[in-house]
């Protein structure tokens, strides 16, 4: 999305499109120049970049909006910092106080005196005081880092952003697509839109989107929401959209118009996903980051499913799956602003789900309570936090789920190994059994697979370990022994060598000079 005034449109009959950028020729040259321009301004103040922008815009003539739009997108990939040793707000305070005492500052002498006096108090030279007075203003910030995109992808992204900006004016949108609509429906719900869906014999969806008050007037109120839905449409296989745009008489569009776009439109191919990764709140972001560290095989998924709780729908923020493609075993919903009544309603839904065997944990921010009432008698489905959500209650529930999963999967493991290889990596064996490695490990450790031994993360059957031992020389360079082991399918040599009674002698830190000796004392 871009500021509305950066959009120019073209009208043909009742159909309106943005004035697109080409992915080649002059526009590509412009994009390349701009990426290079921003890169060249790393370490320089924003004002310098703005001055360049003004110059380029003037040179661009009527295409100045392209220049400004591309720079707007590049700006989102740039990081600016305050370049002053002392906090500029403190400098201002000191200067203005001094000026009030010595002023009014109407001539250069008083001004110099004030700057010198303030400089003494701050431990800065008068010139530094003068130069840093507003170092924290937008235009005085210094470009510290910039992540340069591919210029062609930048142009495609720009075109997509133009399409979104045009949708700000949309009163209604029709979508046609065939598959993978989960993410789309989540976006529709999240942005408060309403939909009417039909599906024809060939499985093609037609979806009409607008909002609650669209019943009463053709309102642009939902335009921004409709624009925000667009990125989630990009993953719905081939799609087409047709939007109804409200009149804009002041822009020479006195009547309603339509805007159509389809997934195969060449000028949006390769667009960067600018908004897909964002979180609804910083809290969610912090939680996702922390939860990434939970032990395998748990995989954290964002908004993983739509859950039906009675006649309403719950879309939890997160879900934990048992392995990449495994079943979802726990859902987590982070509750921001709440009242006890709100929490009660939410809890009722959670309990309906729990009865269906879908455990949901509500993480409730204590600090964001909307009333002073406390929540009486904390139920098991609720964990309070303040600031950053604690992982502890999540980890506790996951541990319970892990036990359940291991037990459940363990039942599928027969006493006779279902693989032929004398030596096989644990995770490959687990994959063949269609269980998680942790489950198989537990089964072996509990001795439920007679004749199978686990060393490190490698499984040995029958006499495989003794045969391996016989094939190894009593002493040799670590490199050579590792090679022998690798040939036989042992990935991590250290634990196997140690199991076979070898000691590794290191000469310095270089593994190529290390030597392994059987039976020698440590």
């Amino acid at each position: 999305m871009l500021p509305r005034d950066l959009l120019t449109t073209r009208r043909r009959g009742s159909s309106v499109t943005p004035v697109w950028a080409d992915l080649e020729g002059e526009d590509l040259a412009t994009a390349k120049d701009l990426v290079a321009l921003v890169e060249a301004h790393v370490g320089r103040p924003r004002a310098a970049l703005l001055a360049e922008r003004l110059r380029l815009e003037q040179e661009a003539g009527t295409r100045f909006k392209l220049v400004r739009g591309l720079l707007e997108l590049l700006d989102r990939r740039a990081h600016f910092e305050v370049a002053s040793r002392v906090d500029p707000a403190r400098i201002r305070k000191t200067v203005f106080e001094t000026a009030t005492l010595l002023g009014p500052v109407v001539g250069p002498e008083t001004r110099a005196k004030v700057l010198a006096e303030a400089g003494r108090a701050l431990g800065l030279a008068p010139e530094a005081v003068e130069g840093s007075l507003y170092a924290d203003r937008e235009e005085n910030l210094v470009l510290a880092a910039f992540e340069a995109p591919d210029p062609r992808a930048l142009l495609a992204t720009y075109n997509l952003a133009l399409a979104q900006t045009l949708l700000f004016d949309a009163t209604r949108m029709h979508l046609f697509f065939t598959r993978d609509a989960n993410r789309l429906f989540r976006a529709i719900k999240r942005h408060g839109l309403m939909h009417v869906a039909t599906r024809d014999a060939s499985g093609r969806f037609t979806l009409t989107l607008d909002g609650p008050t669209s019943l009463f007037r053709n309102t642009r109120r939902y335009g921004t929401s409709l624009a925000k839905v667009l990125p989630s449409l990009l993953r719905c296989g081939p799609w087409r959209l047709s939007a109804t745009l409200a009149p804009r008489p002041e822009q020479g569009r006195p009547e309603e118009a339509t805007f159509d776009l389809a997934s195969d439109f060449p000028l949006i191919q390769g667009a960067l996903d600018e908004e897909g990764g964002g979180f609804d709140s910083a809290t969610e972001g912090a939680f996702a980051q922390a939860a990434g560290a939970l032990p395998k095989p748990w995989v954290l998924l964002r908004e993983p499913a739509i859950l039906q709780a009675g006649d309403s729908v719950v879309i939890p923020d997160f879900g934990f799956a048992w392995g990449e493609k495994g079943p979802l075993r726990l859902f987590v919903e982070i509750v921001g602003f709440w009242t006890p009544e709100y929490l009660e309603r939410k809890l009722a839904k959670v309990r309906v789900l729990d009865a269906q065997g879908v455990p949901v944990l509500l993480l409730v921010d204590e600090a964001l309570a909307c009333s002073t009432d406390r929540f009486e008698g904390l139920p098991a489905e609720v964990a309070l936090f303040s600031g950053t959500p604690s992982l502890l209650p999540v980890a506790r529930l996951l541990e319970r789920e892990r036990e359940a999963m291991v037990a459940q999967e363990g039942e599928r493991i027969a006493p006779a190994p279902a693989w032929e290889e004398p030596i096989l990596a644990l995770d490959r064996a687990a994959a063949r059994l269609n269980v998680q490695p942790a489950t198989l490990r537990r089964a072996v450790e509990e001795g439920r697979l007679p004749g199978v031994e686990l060393v490190g993360s490698t499984l040995f059957r029958g006499r495989a370990l003794e045969e391996l031992s016989a094939a190894l020389p009593p002493r040799g360079s670590l490199r050579d022994l590792e090679e022998v082991l690798a040939e036989r399918g042992v990935g991590e040599a250290a634990s196997v060598l140690s199991r076979l009674g070898y000691t590794v002698k290191w000469r310095g830190l270089d593994p190529s000079t290390a030597e392994a000796v059987r039976g020698s004392p440590p």
């Binding site: 203005f96 001094t98 002023g103 009014p104 909307c370």
Partner: protein
């Protein structure tokens, strides 16, 4: 029959629509969800119809934020006679209407008394973040309860909550059934195409609008009776001057451009002028200017003309003579509390850096803004340079001198700027200066404003 709130609308469920609601043209069958639906602000009419016909209905529309206190009391506040009259008129009008009082006449106090009389979940909607903080402070002080705030993506809900028009617009669906009373401060903002949706999406049956100037140049104030209620009370500045407000002197001072500035001004303005003349009347006047901005997206000549006009404006507004005169005025009023107004941030910061004066703009951070105003009130700073931020309502009753360096020439802005330094204070005499570059477009701006001014001594250079 059941009535509930759904994202800015009312939904009426039930096998059959009762007789009492038939014929209500604001109630419609929604084929998408298969029940009847009305816009949120029809709640009062809906309830009145049901009550009149004595229809029993499950009403789940309001989900009010629980109040901190059973009844709210503001014992420390007493109303002046005209404030009493205003409040009584609002109550007689069914607690849905607009009160027009000049800036400085104590609109906030009237609102506090209105909140006290209803003692219910209340949302106050204000135009700016400064006003938000100011209202919160006043409400906390009056009722001795925590006061919520919704702004800049942060939400803190309490029985009394203050928000901005922008946040209320963005969150109307979520908040529309949580408050029984909504107070619209500076209600003339409400009818704009976006903000009017706040009024339409909220179900709140009680509404109070406050303003000093009801009329809008676009005529949209005619929508206000539907959105809030009719005007129930009005007092003009003239009616209150001398009684409750300080006397003031207004003076327009003309300055000359330097020869170099004059040359640059004529050069740039001429370029713009020639473009306008070449196209006949198409780009003349306020409407013409909008057309010019539109055209500049396509036509390089139009864009060049627009840029030339901006440069000409920069020359006249930043004129050296004007800045020198500002210095003189600062010297003349070195013992006074002075507010310097300009329309553009760039000039605010140029003045701040040249005269080493504290600046207050939209860019000023919250903490610094608070500190700055506190220091100004306490006299640690005697002068404040500002852009539009102070237009509406930031309380600086200590100020007694206003200097306008550039003006947009609309009536409302002038009244509000003036009001700022007219706050009642014992024995205060207020001065207002307007600095205008001679023989430039600014002169027209100033003249456009003049007939609207209240009675005042006017003259040349003092």
């Amino acid at each position: 029959m059941r009535v509930a709130y759904d994202r800015g609308t009312l939904v009426v469920r039930g096998a059959e629509l009762p007789q009492a609601l038939r014929g209500a043209d604001w109630l419609r069958w929604d084929p998408r969800s298969r029940f009847h639906r009305a816009e949120g602000y029809r709640y009062r009419a809906l309830r009145e119809r049901l009550e009149a016909a004595d229809v029993e209905a499950e009403d789940e529309v309001l989900d009010l934020i629980p109040a901190e206190e059973e009844t709210l009391a503001a014992p420390g506040l007493t109303l002046r006679s005209y404030q009493e009259e205003a409040l009584a008129a609002w109550e007689e009008g069914g607690r849905a209407g607009i009160i027009v009082l000049p800036t400085g006449a104590g609109k906030t106090v009237v609102a506090i008394k209105a909140i006290e009389s209803l003692s219910t979940a209340t949302l106050v909607v204000v135009p700016t973040l400064d006003l938000l903080e100011q209202w919160r402070a006043r409400l906390r002080e009056a009722f001795q309860v925590p006061v919520g705030a919704i702004a800049r993506g942060e939400t803190l809900l309490h029985g009394i909550t203050v928000t901005t028009y922008d946040s209320a617009y963005l969150q109307a669906e979520r908040l529309g059934n949580r408050f029984e009373l909504v107070v619209f401060d500076e209600v003339h903002h409400l009818p704009s195409e976006g903000y009017r949706q706040i009024a339409q999406l909220f179900a709140s049956p009680y509404r109070l609008g406050l303003t000093a100037t009801l009329e809008r140049p676009d005529g949209f104030h005619e929508l206000l009776p539907d959105l809030v209620g009719p005007k129930v009370y009005e007092a003009t500045p003239a009616a209150l001057a001398g009684d409750h407000l300080s006397p003031y002197t207004a003076e327009t001072i003309f300055t000359d451009l330097t020869p170099e500035e004059r040359r640059r001004y004529e050069d740039e303005h001429g370029r713009f002028q020639r473009f306008v003349e070449r196209h006949g009347g198409r780009f003349r006047g306020v409407e013409g200017h909008k057309r010019l901005i539109m055209a500049s997206g396509r036509d390089p000549d139009a864009r060049a003309a627009l840029l030339a006009r901006e440069r000409a404006r920069d020359v006249m507004m930043n004129s050296e003579a004007k800045l020198r005169l500002l210095g003189e005025l600062l010297l003349r009023h070195r013992e006074d509390r002075v507010l310097v107004f300009t329309e553009h941030n760039r000039l605010v910061y140029a003045i701040s850096e040249r005269f080493l004066l504290p600046a207050l703009t939209h860019q000023t951070g919250d903490g610094e803004r608070e500190e700055l105003l506190a220091r100004f009130r306490a006299g640690k700073y005697r002068v404040l340079v500002t852009s539009k931020v102070l237009n509406e309502g930031v309380d600086v009753p200590e100020a007694n001198v206003g200097i306008i360096l550039s003006g947009s020439g609309t009536r409302r802005e002038f009244v509000q700027r003036l009001g700022r330094i007219l706050r009642k204070q014992e024995g205060k005499h207020a001065y207002l200066y307007e600095l205008v570059s001679r023989d430039t477009r600014e002169v027209h701006t100033s003249e456009r404003r003049a007939p609207e001014k209240p009675k005042a001594k006017r003259g040349g250079r003092a």
